[in-house]
Protein backbone atom coordinates (compact mmCIF):
# COMPACT_ATOMS: atom_id res chain seq x y z
CA UNK A 1 0.00 0.00 0.00
CA UNK A 2 1.37 3.43 -0.97
CA UNK A 3 2.29 5.64 1.94
CA UNK A 4 0.09 8.68 2.38
CA UNK A 5 2.26 10.10 5.14
CA UNK A 6 5.90 9.41 5.89
CA UNK A 7 7.50 10.99 8.91
CA UNK A 8 11.25 10.47 8.93
CA UNK A 9 13.59 11.25 11.87
CA UNK A 10 11.44 14.20 12.90
CA UNK A 11 12.63 16.35 15.80
CA UNK A 12 10.38 19.28 16.63
CA UNK A 13 9.22 21.49 19.45
CA UNK A 14 8.45 25.05 20.46
CA UNK A 15 11.03 27.84 20.62
CA UNK A 16 14.27 26.24 21.77
CA UNK A 17 12.58 23.28 23.43
CA UNK A 18 12.85 20.00 21.57
CA UNK A 19 9.78 17.93 22.40
CA UNK A 20 9.82 15.25 19.69
CA UNK A 21 13.05 13.38 18.96
CA UNK A 22 13.80 11.25 15.97
CA UNK A 23 10.20 10.23 15.30
CA UNK A 24 9.72 7.92 12.32
CA UNK A 25 6.54 6.27 11.10
CA UNK A 26 4.47 5.85 7.98
CA UNK A 27 0.77 5.71 7.26
CA UNK A 28 -0.85 4.17 4.21
CA UNK A 29 -3.94 5.35 2.35
CA UNK A 30 -7.04 4.53 4.36
CA UNK A 31 -5.04 3.46 7.41
CA UNK A 32 -5.74 4.64 10.94
CA UNK A 33 -2.98 5.10 13.49
CA UNK A 34 -3.49 5.42 17.24
CA UNK A 35 -0.95 7.60 19.03
CA UNK A 36 -0.84 6.64 22.68
CA UNK A 37 1.10 7.89 25.64
CA UNK A 38 0.87 9.50 29.02
CA UNK A 39 0.31 13.23 29.50
CA UNK A 40 3.14 15.42 28.26
CA UNK A 41 4.98 12.84 26.16
CA UNK A 42 4.58 14.83 22.92
CA UNK A 43 1.35 13.48 21.39
CA UNK A 44 -0.13 16.91 20.70
CA UNK A 45 3.30 18.17 19.57
CA UNK A 46 3.29 15.40 16.97
CA UNK A 47 -0.10 16.57 15.69
CA UNK A 48 1.04 20.20 15.81
CA UNK A 49 4.13 19.26 13.79
CA UNK A 50 1.96 17.66 11.13
CA UNK A 51 -0.25 20.74 10.82
CA UNK A 52 2.80 22.99 10.82
CA UNK A 53 2.69 25.06 13.98
CA UNK A 54 5.83 23.77 15.68
CA UNK A 55 9.49 24.48 15.07
CA UNK A 56 11.18 21.68 13.13
CA UNK A 57 14.76 20.95 14.15
CA UNK A 58 15.39 17.95 11.90
CA UNK A 59 13.68 15.35 9.76
CA UNK A 60 11.12 15.32 7.03
CA UNK A 61 7.37 15.01 6.63
CA UNK A 62 6.18 13.73 3.27
CA UNK A 63 2.49 13.78 2.43
CA UNK A 64 1.08 12.31 -0.79
CA UNK A 65 4.65 11.93 -2.02
CA UNK A 66 5.63 15.58 -1.45
CA UNK A 67 7.72 17.17 1.28
CA UNK A 68 5.49 19.41 3.40
CA UNK A 69 7.76 20.14 6.37
CA UNK A 70 8.49 23.65 5.14
CA UNK A 71 4.90 24.51 4.19
CA UNK A 72 2.63 26.88 6.12
CA UNK A 73 -0.36 25.48 8.04
CA UNK A 74 -2.80 26.78 5.40
CA UNK A 75 -0.82 25.17 2.58
CA UNK A 76 -0.81 21.83 4.43
CA UNK A 77 -4.55 22.08 5.05
CA UNK A 78 -5.10 22.88 1.38
CA UNK A 79 -3.16 19.72 0.48
CA UNK A 80 -5.56 17.62 2.50
CA UNK A 81 -4.63 17.55 6.17
CA UNK A 82 -7.72 17.98 8.35
CA UNK A 83 -7.33 18.72 12.04
CA UNK A 84 -9.60 18.33 15.04
CA UNK A 85 -7.85 20.25 17.82
CA UNK A 86 -7.83 19.11 21.42
CA UNK A 87 -9.48 22.38 22.52
CA UNK A 88 -12.02 22.08 19.66
CA UNK A 89 -11.60 25.80 18.90
CA UNK A 90 -14.87 26.15 17.00
CA UNK A 91 -15.48 29.65 15.66
CA UNK A 92 -17.69 30.94 18.43
CA UNK A 93 -19.14 33.92 16.57
CA UNK A 94 -20.07 31.84 13.50
CA UNK A 95 -23.15 29.64 13.33
CA UNK A 96 -22.79 25.85 13.16
CA UNK A 97 -23.45 25.92 9.43
CA UNK A 98 -21.03 28.81 8.90
CA UNK A 99 -18.33 26.93 10.83
CA UNK A 100 -18.64 24.19 8.23
CA UNK A 101 -18.95 26.34 5.12
CA UNK A 102 -16.28 28.93 6.05
CA UNK A 103 -13.53 26.33 5.57
CA UNK A 104 -15.26 24.00 3.11
CA UNK A 105 -13.43 22.71 0.06
CA UNK A 106 -14.91 20.73 -2.81
CA UNK A 107 -15.38 17.02 -2.22
CA UNK A 108 -17.80 14.44 -0.95
CA UNK A 109 -18.07 15.96 2.52
CA UNK A 110 -20.65 18.75 2.40
CA UNK A 111 -22.36 20.45 5.31
CA UNK A 112 -25.43 18.26 4.72
CA UNK A 113 -23.35 15.11 4.86
CA UNK A 114 -21.80 16.28 8.14
CA UNK A 115 -25.34 16.85 9.44
CA UNK A 116 -26.09 13.26 8.42
CA UNK A 117 -23.18 12.05 10.53
CA UNK A 118 -24.16 14.27 13.46
CA UNK A 119 -27.94 14.87 13.36
CA UNK A 120 -27.61 16.84 16.59
CA UNK A 121 -25.70 19.52 14.66
CA UNK A 122 -28.43 19.71 12.04
CA UNK A 123 -30.90 20.68 14.74
CA UNK A 124 -28.55 23.46 15.84
CA UNK A 125 -27.32 24.58 12.43
CA UNK A 126 -28.28 28.22 13.00
CA UNK A 127 -26.95 28.41 16.56
CA UNK A 128 -23.67 30.21 17.26
CA UNK A 129 -20.63 28.07 18.03
CA UNK A 130 -20.54 29.65 21.49
CA UNK A 131 -24.03 28.29 22.25
CA UNK A 132 -23.05 24.62 21.86
CA UNK A 133 -22.35 22.10 24.59
CA UNK A 134 -18.90 20.48 24.84
CA UNK A 135 -20.09 17.38 22.98
CA UNK A 136 -21.70 19.41 20.24
CA UNK A 137 -18.55 21.49 19.89
CA UNK A 138 -16.53 18.30 19.46
CA UNK A 139 -18.95 17.08 16.79
CA UNK A 140 -18.67 20.44 15.08
CA UNK A 141 -14.87 20.33 15.28
CA UNK A 142 -14.89 16.92 13.58
CA UNK A 143 -17.47 18.07 11.05
CA UNK A 144 -15.48 21.21 10.29
CA UNK A 145 -12.37 19.13 9.58
CA UNK A 146 -14.43 16.83 7.34
CA UNK A 147 -15.83 19.83 5.45
CA UNK A 148 -12.28 20.55 4.25
CA UNK A 149 -12.46 17.12 2.56
CA UNK A 150 -9.15 15.91 3.96
CA UNK A 151 -7.10 12.94 2.80
CA UNK A 152 -5.82 12.58 6.35
CA UNK A 153 -7.73 13.42 9.51
CA UNK A 154 -5.84 14.29 12.69
CA UNK A 155 -7.88 13.87 15.87
CA UNK A 156 -6.32 15.16 19.06
CA UNK A 157 -7.95 13.58 22.12
CA UNK A 158 -11.42 13.59 20.57
CA UNK A 159 -13.20 12.23 23.66
CA UNK A 160 -11.50 14.31 26.31
CA UNK A 161 -13.82 15.97 28.78
CA UNK A 162 -17.01 14.54 27.26
CA UNK A 163 -19.85 12.83 29.09
CA UNK A 164 -19.78 9.01 28.66
CA UNK A 165 -22.89 8.95 26.45
CA UNK A 166 -21.38 11.59 24.17
CA UNK A 167 -18.08 9.69 24.11
CA UNK A 168 -19.95 6.70 22.67
CA UNK A 169 -21.61 8.89 20.04
CA UNK A 170 -18.31 10.54 19.01
CA UNK A 171 -16.45 7.21 18.94
CA UNK A 172 -19.18 5.66 16.81
CA UNK A 173 -18.87 8.52 14.33
CA UNK A 174 -15.06 8.19 14.25
CA UNK A 175 -15.38 4.43 13.75
CA UNK A 176 -17.74 5.04 10.84
CA UNK A 177 -15.26 7.46 9.26
CA UNK A 178 -12.32 5.10 9.64
CA UNK A 179 -14.02 1.78 8.94
CA UNK A 180 -16.84 2.57 6.52
CA UNK A 181 -15.51 5.68 4.79
CA UNK A 182 -11.91 4.43 4.79
CA UNK A 183 -10.54 7.81 5.80
CA UNK A 184 -6.87 7.82 6.82
CA UNK A 185 -6.47 9.15 10.34
CA UNK A 186 -4.13 9.68 13.24
CA UNK A 187 -5.95 9.58 16.54
CA UNK A 188 -4.25 10.81 19.69
CA UNK A 189 -5.81 9.27 22.76
CA UNK A 190 -4.87 8.68 26.37
CA UNK A 191 -7.41 5.91 26.81
CA UNK A 192 -6.00 3.21 24.58
CA UNK A 193 -8.88 0.78 24.78
CA UNK A 194 -11.32 3.30 23.37
CA UNK A 195 -9.41 3.75 20.19
CA UNK A 196 -7.45 0.56 19.52
CA UNK A 197 -10.52 -1.37 18.26
CA UNK A 198 -11.06 1.14 15.45
CA UNK A 199 -7.45 1.75 14.35
CA UNK A 200 -5.06 -0.41 12.32
CA UNK A 201 -1.77 0.41 13.96
CA UNK A 202 -0.61 2.04 17.16
CA UNK A 203 2.48 3.84 18.38
CA UNK A 204 3.29 4.62 21.99
CA UNK A 205 5.25 7.78 22.74
CA UNK A 206 7.47 8.33 25.72
CA UNK A 207 9.50 11.49 26.27
CA UNK A 208 9.02 12.53 22.68
CA UNK A 209 10.15 9.23 21.14
CA UNK A 210 8.27 6.30 19.69
CA UNK A 211 9.00 3.43 22.05
CA UNK A 212 6.52 0.90 20.69
CA UNK A 213 4.89 0.27 17.34
CA UNK A 214 2.58 -2.56 16.43
CA UNK A 215 -0.79 -3.50 14.99
CA UNK A 216 -3.63 -2.24 17.16
CA UNK A 217 -5.10 -5.75 17.32
CA UNK A 218 -1.80 -7.07 18.68
CA UNK A 219 -1.88 -4.49 21.47
CA UNK A 220 -5.41 -5.46 22.31
CA UNK A 221 -4.48 -9.15 22.37
CA UNK A 222 -1.38 -8.62 24.48
CA UNK A 223 -1.65 -5.55 26.65
CA UNK A 224 1.79 -5.91 28.21
CA UNK A 225 3.23 -2.83 26.41
CA UNK A 226 0.17 -0.82 27.48
CA UNK A 227 0.59 -1.87 31.09
CA UNK A 228 4.34 -1.23 31.00
CA UNK A 229 4.32 2.09 29.16
CA UNK A 230 0.96 3.59 30.04
CA UNK A 231 0.14 1.86 33.29
CA UNK A 232 -3.12 0.66 31.75
CA UNK A 233 -4.77 -2.18 33.59
CA UNK A 234 -8.45 -1.52 33.05
CA UNK A 235 -10.57 -3.83 30.97
Amino acid sequence: MADLLTVQSLSAGYGRAVVLSDVTFALGEGQALAVLGRNGVGKTTLIDSLIGVTRRFAGSVRFSGKEIATLSPEARAQRGIGWVPQERNVFRSLSVEENLTAVARPGPWTADRVFGLFPRLAERRHHAGSALSGGEQQMLAIGRALATNPKLLLLDEPTEGLAPIIVQEVLAAIARLLREEGLAAIVVEQHARKILPITDRAVILERGRIVHESASAALLADATPLERLLGVTER
Binding site: I51, G52, V53, S72, P73, E74, A77, Q78, G82, W83, P85, N89, F91, R92, S93, L94, E98, N99, T101, A102, V103, A104, R105, R144, A145, T148
Partner: protein, 283 residues
Protein backbone atom coordinates in the same frame (compact mmCIF):
# COMPACT_ATOMS: atom_id res chain seq x y z
CA UNK B 1 -39.88 74.03 21.95
CA UNK B 2 -39.44 73.84 18.17
CA UNK B 3 -42.40 72.99 15.98
CA UNK B 4 -43.18 69.44 14.84
CA UNK B 5 -42.20 70.44 11.29
CA UNK B 6 -38.82 71.70 12.44
CA UNK B 7 -38.26 68.52 14.46
CA UNK B 8 -39.31 66.37 11.50
CA UNK B 9 -36.98 68.28 9.19
CA UNK B 10 -34.18 67.95 11.76
CA UNK B 11 -34.78 64.21 11.93
CA UNK B 12 -34.68 63.80 8.14
CA UNK B 13 -31.57 65.97 7.80
CA UNK B 14 -29.92 64.11 10.67
CA UNK B 15 -30.60 60.66 9.26
CA UNK B 16 -29.29 61.77 5.86
CA UNK B 17 -26.19 63.35 7.41
CA UNK B 18 -25.74 60.12 9.36
CA UNK B 19 -25.45 58.34 6.03
CA UNK B 20 -22.07 60.05 5.61
CA UNK B 21 -21.01 58.94 9.10
CA UNK B 22 -22.04 55.40 8.22
CA UNK B 23 -20.26 55.47 4.85
CA UNK B 24 -17.04 56.74 6.45
CA UNK B 25 -17.40 54.24 9.30
CA UNK B 26 -17.83 51.30 6.94
CA UNK B 27 -14.20 50.85 5.86
CA UNK B 28 -12.86 51.72 9.30
CA UNK B 29 -15.15 49.19 10.96
CA UNK B 30 -14.13 46.42 8.56
CA UNK B 31 -10.39 46.89 8.99
CA UNK B 32 -10.66 47.34 12.76
CA UNK B 33 -13.11 44.52 13.32
CA UNK B 34 -11.82 41.93 10.88
CA UNK B 35 -8.11 42.75 10.55
CA UNK B 36 -7.49 44.33 13.96
CA UNK B 37 -5.98 47.35 12.22
CA UNK B 38 -7.19 50.79 13.31
CA UNK B 39 -6.79 52.74 10.11
CA UNK B 40 -6.87 56.46 10.92
CA UNK B 41 -5.64 57.27 7.43
CA UNK B 42 -9.11 56.22 6.22
CA UNK B 43 -10.21 59.85 6.74
CA UNK B 44 -7.21 61.20 4.86
CA UNK B 45 -7.85 58.77 1.98
CA UNK B 46 -11.47 59.93 1.84
CA UNK B 47 -10.29 63.54 1.62
CA UNK B 48 -7.68 62.67 -0.99
CA UNK B 49 -10.52 61.14 -3.02
CA UNK B 50 -12.60 64.28 -2.39
CA UNK B 51 -9.82 66.55 -3.63
CA UNK B 52 -9.26 64.32 -6.67
CA UNK B 53 -12.97 64.52 -7.44
CA UNK B 54 -12.76 68.28 -7.05
CA UNK B 55 -9.68 68.50 -9.28
CA UNK B 56 -11.12 66.31 -12.00
CA UNK B 57 -14.39 68.22 -11.87
CA UNK B 58 -13.03 71.77 -11.85
CA UNK B 59 -9.89 71.42 -13.97
CA UNK B 60 -10.88 68.68 -16.41
CA UNK B 61 -14.68 69.07 -16.18
CA UNK B 62 -15.19 65.40 -15.51
CA UNK B 63 -18.48 64.70 -13.82
CA UNK B 64 -18.06 63.06 -10.36
CA UNK B 65 -20.21 60.13 -11.46
CA UNK B 66 -17.47 59.35 -14.02
CA UNK B 67 -14.42 60.29 -11.96
CA UNK B 68 -15.56 57.90 -9.25
CA UNK B 69 -14.88 55.06 -11.71
CA UNK B 70 -11.19 56.01 -11.66
CA UNK B 71 -10.87 57.16 -8.07
CA UNK B 72 -12.39 54.12 -6.38
CA UNK B 73 -10.11 51.56 -8.11
CA UNK B 74 -7.13 53.86 -7.41
CA UNK B 75 -8.08 53.91 -3.72
CA UNK B 76 -8.38 50.12 -3.79
CA UNK B 77 -4.79 49.93 -5.01
CA UNK B 78 -3.66 52.39 -2.30
CA UNK B 79 -5.39 50.13 0.23
CA UNK B 80 -3.42 47.15 -1.08
CA UNK B 81 -0.14 49.08 -0.85
CA UNK B 82 -0.98 50.22 2.64
CA UNK B 83 -1.67 46.66 3.67
CA UNK B 84 1.63 45.56 2.18
CA UNK B 85 3.30 47.86 4.74
CA UNK B 86 1.18 46.41 7.58
CA UNK B 87 1.98 42.90 6.43
CA UNK B 88 5.69 43.46 5.71
CA UNK B 89 6.34 44.98 9.14
CA UNK B 90 3.84 42.81 11.03
CA UNK B 91 2.01 45.85 12.38
CA UNK B 92 -0.23 45.19 15.39
CA UNK B 93 -3.42 46.97 16.48
CA UNK B 94 -1.80 49.75 18.52
CA UNK B 95 1.04 50.31 16.07
CA UNK B 96 -1.49 50.54 13.24
CA UNK B 97 -3.17 53.45 15.03
CA UNK B 98 0.11 55.35 15.32
CA UNK B 99 1.36 54.52 11.83
CA UNK B 100 -1.89 55.41 10.09
CA UNK B 101 -2.17 58.61 12.14
CA UNK B 102 1.29 59.56 10.85
CA UNK B 103 0.27 58.59 7.34
CA UNK B 104 -2.83 60.78 7.62
CA UNK B 105 -0.74 63.75 8.79
CA UNK B 106 1.65 63.28 5.84
CA UNK B 107 -1.29 63.06 3.46
CA UNK B 108 -2.80 66.21 4.99
CA UNK B 109 0.46 68.07 4.38
CA UNK B 110 0.65 66.73 0.83
CA UNK B 111 -2.92 67.88 0.14
CA UNK B 112 -2.12 71.28 1.60
CA UNK B 113 1.02 71.61 -0.54
CA UNK B 114 -0.85 70.85 -3.73
CA UNK B 115 -4.27 72.37 -3.11
CA UNK B 116 -3.24 74.92 -0.42
CA UNK B 117 -5.11 75.44 2.85
CA UNK B 118 -7.83 77.53 1.17
CA UNK B 119 -11.41 76.40 1.45
CA UNK B 120 -12.66 74.89 -1.78
CA UNK B 121 -16.18 74.17 -2.86
CA UNK B 122 -17.14 71.98 -5.81
CA UNK B 123 -20.36 73.44 -7.15
CA UNK B 124 -22.53 71.39 -9.45
CA UNK B 125 -25.95 72.14 -10.86
CA UNK B 126 -27.42 69.47 -8.59
CA UNK B 127 -25.64 70.57 -5.39
CA UNK B 128 -28.70 72.23 -3.96
CA UNK B 129 -31.44 70.11 -5.52
CA UNK B 130 -34.05 68.85 -3.10
CA UNK B 131 -37.37 67.05 -3.20
CA UNK B 132 -40.35 68.42 -1.29
CA UNK B 133 -42.36 65.77 0.49
CA UNK B 134 -45.25 67.36 2.36
CA UNK B 135 -43.75 69.98 4.61
CA UNK B 136 -40.26 68.52 4.40
CA UNK B 137 -37.34 69.07 2.08
CA UNK B 138 -35.10 66.14 1.21
CA UNK B 139 -31.73 67.10 -0.33
CA UNK B 140 -31.14 64.88 -3.36
CA UNK B 141 -27.36 64.43 -2.94
CA UNK B 142 -27.67 63.36 0.68
CA UNK B 143 -30.47 61.00 -0.30
CA UNK B 144 -28.28 59.40 -2.99
CA UNK B 145 -25.43 59.20 -0.47
CA UNK B 146 -27.70 57.34 1.96
CA UNK B 147 -28.86 54.96 -0.75
CA UNK B 148 -25.27 54.26 -1.82
CA UNK B 149 -24.20 53.79 1.81
CA UNK B 150 -27.18 51.47 2.32
CA UNK B 151 -26.36 49.39 -0.76
CA UNK B 152 -22.67 49.13 0.21
CA UNK B 153 -23.42 48.28 3.85
CA UNK B 154 -26.10 45.74 2.93
CA UNK B 155 -23.96 44.25 0.17
CA UNK B 156 -20.95 43.97 2.46
CA UNK B 157 -23.07 42.41 5.19
CA UNK B 158 -24.39 39.82 2.75
CA UNK B 159 -20.88 39.21 1.39
CA UNK B 160 -19.56 38.56 4.90
CA UNK B 161 -22.40 36.19 5.72
CA UNK B 162 -23.17 34.35 2.53
CA UNK B 163 -19.91 33.93 0.65
CA UNK B 164 -16.99 31.62 1.36
CA UNK B 165 -14.58 34.57 1.41
CA UNK B 166 -16.76 36.54 3.83
CA UNK B 167 -17.21 33.66 6.24
CA UNK B 168 -13.51 32.80 6.04
CA UNK B 169 -12.71 36.42 6.86
CA UNK B 170 -14.95 36.32 9.92
CA UNK B 171 -13.44 33.01 11.01
CA UNK B 172 -9.98 34.44 10.52
CA UNK B 173 -10.88 37.58 12.48
CA UNK B 174 -11.93 35.41 15.40
CA UNK B 175 -8.91 33.09 15.35
CA UNK B 176 -6.41 33.54 12.53
CA UNK B 177 -4.20 30.59 13.55
CA UNK B 178 -7.06 28.12 13.70
CA UNK B 179 -8.50 29.41 10.42
CA UNK B 180 -5.07 29.00 8.79
CA UNK B 181 -4.93 25.40 9.99
CA UNK B 182 -8.15 24.84 8.04
CA UNK B 183 -6.66 26.26 4.88
CA UNK B 184 -7.91 29.85 5.13
CA UNK B 185 -5.35 32.17 3.54
CA UNK B 186 -5.75 35.12 5.89
CA UNK B 187 -3.03 37.11 4.13
CA UNK B 188 -4.82 37.19 0.78
CA UNK B 189 -8.16 37.95 2.40
CA UNK B 190 -6.60 40.76 4.44
CA UNK B 191 -5.29 42.40 1.26
CA UNK B 192 -8.72 42.16 -0.31
CA UNK B 193 -10.40 43.69 2.71
CA UNK B 194 -7.84 46.50 2.97
CA UNK B 195 -8.39 47.35 -0.66
CA UNK B 196 -12.14 47.28 -0.16
CA UNK B 197 -11.95 49.56 2.89
CA UNK B 198 -9.88 52.10 0.96
CA UNK B 199 -12.30 51.85 -1.98
CA UNK B 200 -15.15 52.73 0.40
CA UNK B 201 -13.10 55.75 1.49
CA UNK B 202 -12.99 56.66 -2.20
CA UNK B 203 -16.79 56.50 -2.48
CA UNK B 204 -17.14 58.58 0.70
CA UNK B 205 -14.63 61.07 -0.71
CA UNK B 206 -16.68 61.60 -3.85
CA UNK B 207 -19.70 62.55 -1.75
CA UNK B 208 -17.58 64.72 0.56
CA UNK B 209 -16.47 66.68 -2.52
CA UNK B 210 -20.09 67.19 -3.56
CA UNK B 211 -21.57 67.97 -0.15
CA UNK B 212 -18.88 69.57 2.01
CA UNK B 213 -16.46 72.45 1.77
CA UNK B 214 -12.93 71.12 1.41
CA UNK B 215 -9.94 72.16 3.50
CA UNK B 216 -7.00 69.92 4.49
CA UNK B 217 -7.67 70.31 8.22
CA UNK B 218 -11.21 69.00 7.67
CA UNK B 219 -9.65 65.52 7.51
CA UNK B 220 -9.96 65.43 11.27
CA UNK B 221 -13.44 66.97 11.50
CA UNK B 222 -15.32 63.65 11.47
CA UNK B 223 -12.75 61.53 13.28
CA UNK B 224 -14.36 61.64 16.73
CA UNK B 225 -17.93 61.05 15.69
CA UNK B 226 -17.06 58.33 13.15
CA UNK B 227 -14.98 56.53 15.79
CA UNK B 228 -18.02 56.58 18.07
CA UNK B 229 -20.18 55.30 15.20
CA UNK B 230 -17.78 52.43 14.51
CA UNK B 231 -17.90 51.31 18.14
CA UNK B 232 -21.65 51.81 18.54
CA UNK B 233 -22.27 49.84 15.34
CA UNK B 234 -19.96 47.06 16.59
CA UNK B 235 -16.60 46.42 14.98
CA UNK B 236 -16.75 44.58 11.68
CA UNK B 237 -20.51 44.98 11.32
CA UNK B 238 -21.31 47.00 8.16
CA UNK B 239 -25.03 47.32 8.81
CA UNK B 240 -24.31 48.26 12.41
CA UNK B 241 -22.02 51.04 11.19
CA UNK B 242 -24.72 52.42 8.90
CA UNK B 243 -27.50 52.29 11.49
CA UNK B 244 -25.24 53.76 14.17
CA UNK B 245 -24.30 56.55 11.76
CA UNK B 246 -27.94 57.35 11.13
CA UNK B 247 -28.77 57.15 14.84
CA UNK B 248 -25.99 59.54 15.76
CA UNK B 249 -26.80 61.83 12.84
CA UNK B 250 -30.44 62.01 13.87
CA UNK B 251 -29.59 62.52 17.55
CA UNK B 252 -27.15 65.31 16.75
CA UNK B 253 -29.64 67.03 14.51
CA UNK B 254 -32.44 66.84 17.08
CA UNK B 255 -30.06 68.12 19.77
CA UNK B 256 -29.14 71.05 17.51
CA UNK B 257 -32.81 71.87 16.89
CA UNK B 258 -33.98 71.49 20.49
CA UNK B 259 -30.94 72.76 22.39
CA UNK B 260 -28.22 74.44 20.36
CA UNK B 261 -25.66 73.45 17.69
CA UNK B 262 -22.98 73.38 20.38
CA UNK B 263 -24.64 70.29 21.86
CA UNK B 264 -24.25 68.17 18.75
CA UNK B 265 -20.81 66.69 19.53
CA UNK B 266 -21.93 65.80 23.05
CA UNK B 267 -24.57 63.43 21.67
CA UNK B 268 -22.39 60.82 19.98
CA UNK B 269 -19.98 60.51 22.86
CA UNK B 270 -22.78 60.43 25.43
CA UNK B 271 -24.38 57.54 23.55
CA UNK B 272 -20.98 55.83 23.38
CA UNK B 273 -20.26 56.27 27.09
CA UNK B 274 -23.72 55.05 28.15
CA UNK B 275 -23.41 52.04 25.84
CA UNK B 276 -19.97 51.06 27.10
CA UNK B 277 -20.99 51.51 30.73
CA UNK B 278 -24.06 49.33 30.08
CA UNK B 279 -22.04 46.66 28.27
CA UNK B 280 -18.22 47.00 28.43
CA UNK B 281 -17.85 44.28 25.79
CA UNK B 282 -20.20 46.04 23.37
CA UNK B 283 -17.76 46.60 20.51
Amino acid sequence: MPSATLLGQALISGVLAGGMYGLLALGLSLSWGLLRLVNLSHFALAFLAAYLTYEMGTTYHIDPWWSVLVIVPAMFVIGLLQHWVFDRFKVNELASLLITFSFAVILEVAIQLYWTADYRRFETHYSTLSIKVGAFYIPVLELILCLVAGVLAWGTWLWLRKTYVGKALRASAEDAEIAAAYGVDHKKLAYLLSGLGAAYAGVAGTFIALIATLAPAQIWAWLGVVFAVVIIGRLGNPLGALFAGMLIGASESIAMAVLSPAWAPVVSFSVLIVLLLWDPDWS
